[in-house]
């Protein structure tokens, strides 16, 4: 919506894949297994029983991460004299590690890895600390997490990118539009830490509210709406009911999911991203031919048909951003550019629509230098070290 109004979006390529989602059975595929399981003593293991995260500690975190299992296990009780278990490295590191283990053939039967807390903590402790995980696995998967390990794998979880906003007022680059939370970009950079989404909402949600209120109070006169624009939107909204024998919105949705999952997933590369952009072009054409039956009251097919253009626009922005950012940074990982590029660390990739708008219109993309951090904030950060 923001893009169709002409607003800037940034970092659309920065998608977070949470390392531990359930993978089996089908009904629970993608459901979140909270980081708290690892925080309370759970460890990730491959099919050989090895705690493989010890093999994936990146240089950047080596100094603060335990080197041996003994040290990692002791850390739970004593944070001062021991360093943190590698199971709790940032989410993108863990997600990539799991991905590698599964690709190397050391995964679990259903394509994930094992998260084991059963052999590491007493049943009573697990039930008390993780009641909803216990409940979720028991009722939906028939797995007793106090007795056996869970199968987990990376799942698409959060979008760090989004609408570019002013940090004090949350105003977008289009006057009168305000954004906060997951829909806004920039707060979390290329990778979000666990728990920060909630605090983000509270702080910046409030700022967005006060920003919007100030903007509204400063306005004079009554805004008017172009009746012709409204007519056009209404006509487009109900158009699928008038078409016969066109595309099924659910099939389009599934094709979109398959395209993004395989070509714009955790590990990306140039050729696949180009392929994805071509495919998205085809999907956009098909979206113009969606047809529907049934009435207008509570029609989920119509809801999906209405959402599809938005999904296509966002997917295109993600693929375009991923192609442009020729490095790996945070949640964005490129096979063909495996490390971070310090030069690209200084830019945002900004995308926007200009004269033409809508899901079929082009999205322009260009790098822009990061805003300079104000001196007083810089001083605060330095204080901490």
């Amino acid at each position: 919506m923001a893009m169709w109004a002409g607003a800037d979006v940034i970092e659309m390529e920065c998608v977070q894949f949470h390392p531990t989602g359930m993978v089996w059975p089908l009904s629970v595929r993608g459901l979140l297994v909270t980081e708290g399981v690892r925080g309370d003593g759970g460890a990730l293991e491959n099919s050989e029983g090895r705690r493989f995260m010890f093999d994936y500690i990146p240089e950047m975190f080596r100094a603060e991460t335990a080197e041996t299992e003994e040290e990692a296990d002791a850390w739970y009780d004593d944070h001062i004299n021991h360093r943190r278990t590698p199971d709790l490295l940032p989410r993108d590191e863990v997600a990539r590690a799991i991905n590698s283990e599964v690709k190397a053939g050391r995964g679990s039967p259903h394509g994930g890895v094992f998260l084991d807390i059963a052999s590491r903590r007493p049943a009573e402790y697990i039930r008390r600390r993780l009641p909803s995980m216990y409940h979720q696995f028991m009722e939906l998967a028939g797995v007793d997490i106090t007795a056996e390990p869970m199968e987990v794998g990376p799942t698409c979880h959060y979008m760090m990118g989004g609408v570019r906003v002013h940090p004090e007022t949350q105003a977008a680059t289009v006057p009168g539009l305000f954004a906060a939370g997951e829909v806004a970009g920039g707060m979390h950079g290329a990778n979000r830490l666990g728990g920060n989404s909630l605090s983000d909402l509270l702080v910046f949600g409030r700022r967005a509210g006060t920003g919007a209120a100030d903007f509204a109070e400063a306005r004079t006169g009554d805004p008017t709406v172009d009746a012709a624009q409204v007519e056009a939107v209404l006509a487009e909204a109900v158009a699928p009911f008038a078409r016969d024998g066109g595309e099924n919105p659910y099939e389009l949705h599934q094709d979109l999911q398959a395209t993004m999952q395989s070509l714009v997933g955790i590990i990306r590369n140039g050729p696949e991203l180009e392929q994805a952009l071509d495919k998205l072009g085809e999907l956009r054409e098909r979206a113009g031919k969606v047809s529907l039956g049934g009435g207008r009251a509570y029609n989920p097919g119509w809801n999906l048909a209405t959402d599809l253009p938005s999904m296509l626009t966002v997917s295109t922005a993600i693929a375009q951003g991923a192609l442009a950012r020729k490095e790996s940074r945070g949640g964005h990982t490129r096979d063909d550019y495996p490390g971070p590029d310090p030069e690209l660390g200084k830019v945002n990739f900004v995308q926007r629509q200009t004269d033409e708008r809508g899901y079929c219109a082009p999205i322009h993309i260009a790098p822009e230098p990061l805003p300079q951090m104000p001196a007083e904030l810089q001083a605060l950060l330095e204080e901490g070290h």
Binding site: P122, L140, G142, W302
Partner: protein, 306 residues
């Protein structure tokens, strides 16, 4: 449902394992855990002929009927998965509420084979062979297909007088863990309204809705009444206007609660006992008169409801 594999450690219950035995190495060639045995209701699992049939109610407030949809079965599905596949293939306008698919939001309430259940928490393989009937919540007016108008519950919610603590003492509030603990169970409620749907007092008697809050709200009243800091007294309100006495503790609510809250035993019966103490016990009445303990009337209490 699989039998849980025995825990590899031999530590006694409640004591931390001294040196956990590492789990034996697993081969990725192992197939999926087998799905033999009996389901949670003790019913033998069916041998699927490879298809699953949902018999779904379609219609609106004026008319409707049951329609059969047969699809190839898939392993490990819940009823909501099948509904989604029906929407994606033959019936894109099949209306149903759902959201989290994890038994936490309370949106996908319906009646499955006549029993109030969450669609996302009902595994297809735990149901008997044959068509699975999926119908909307019977106690509430139909909007479309499986979607009902549950606003009765929001009206009841508005009438619950709010939590009313006294002004904080200079060093802050003090409470005992066991007093706080009593009400924690009631906070697990996800407002799925399955208990409201199954309760015969309103399920079978539409006219009772005007004077009956229902199990979901009895746990709310109980939580507030049991809170160690609350100064409000909702007992008269619950007795005179919220229909507590209409409950004859048949416990269907407890049976259908997806969060396993002991609604009848831990909320309704203690609430009934408190009401009896306040309204029908002459000794308690005398004690109150002598000690001049003031009880707020229902009007005072409701006047302060949000």
């Amino acid at each position: 449902m699989t039998d849980p594999t025995p825990a590899p450690t031999t530590a006694g219950a409640g004591t931390p394992a001294p040196a956990p035995t590492p789990l034996p190495p697993r081969s990725p060639a192992e197939g999926p855990p087998d799905a033999g045995g009996t389901g949670p209701w003790g019913i033998p699992l069916p041998q699927e002929d490879g298809t699953v049939t949902l018999r779904v109610w379609r219609g609106d407030a004026t008319a409707g009927q049951l329609v059969d949809y047969t699809l190839p079965a898939q392993d490990g599905e819940v009823v909501l998965d099948v509904v989604h596949r029906i929407q994606a293939s033959v019936a894109p306008d099949l209306a149903c509420r759902w959201n989290c698919k994890a038994g936490k939001c309370g949106s996908c309430s319906s009646e499955i084979n006549g029993r109030p259940r969450l669609m996302c928490m009902t595994r297809v393989d735990e149901l008997p062979e044959g068509p699975i009937t999926v119908t909307p919540l019977r106690t509430f007016p139909i909007l479309r297909d499986l979607v009902t108008d549950v606003s009765f519950n929001y009206e009841m919610a508005k009438q619950v007088p709010a939590f009313a603590p006294p002004p904080p003492p200079p060093d802050g509030y003090r409470m005992q863990q066991e007093d706080v603990q009593r009400g924690q169970e009631f906070r697990k409620c996800i407002e799925c309204f399955l208990c409201q749907d199954v309760c015969h007092v309103i399920r079978d008697h539409e006219e009772n809705k005007a004077q009956y809050a229902g199990p979901r709200f009895f746990i709310r009243y109980a939580e507030l009444e049991m809170h160690p800091l609350d100064t409000n007294d909702r007992r008269e309100l619950v007795r005179q206007r919220m229909g507590l006495s209409l409950c004859n503790i048949t416990k269907c609510c407890t049976e259908v609660c997806p969060e396993h809250i002991k609604i009848t035993d831990n909320a309704i019966i203690p609430l009934k006992e408190r009401v009896v103490d306040s309204s029908y016990d002459p000794v308690a009445w005398l004690g109150r008169k002598i000690l001049r303990r003031h009880k707020r009337s229902p009007d005072e209490a409701t006047a302060e409801a949000p």
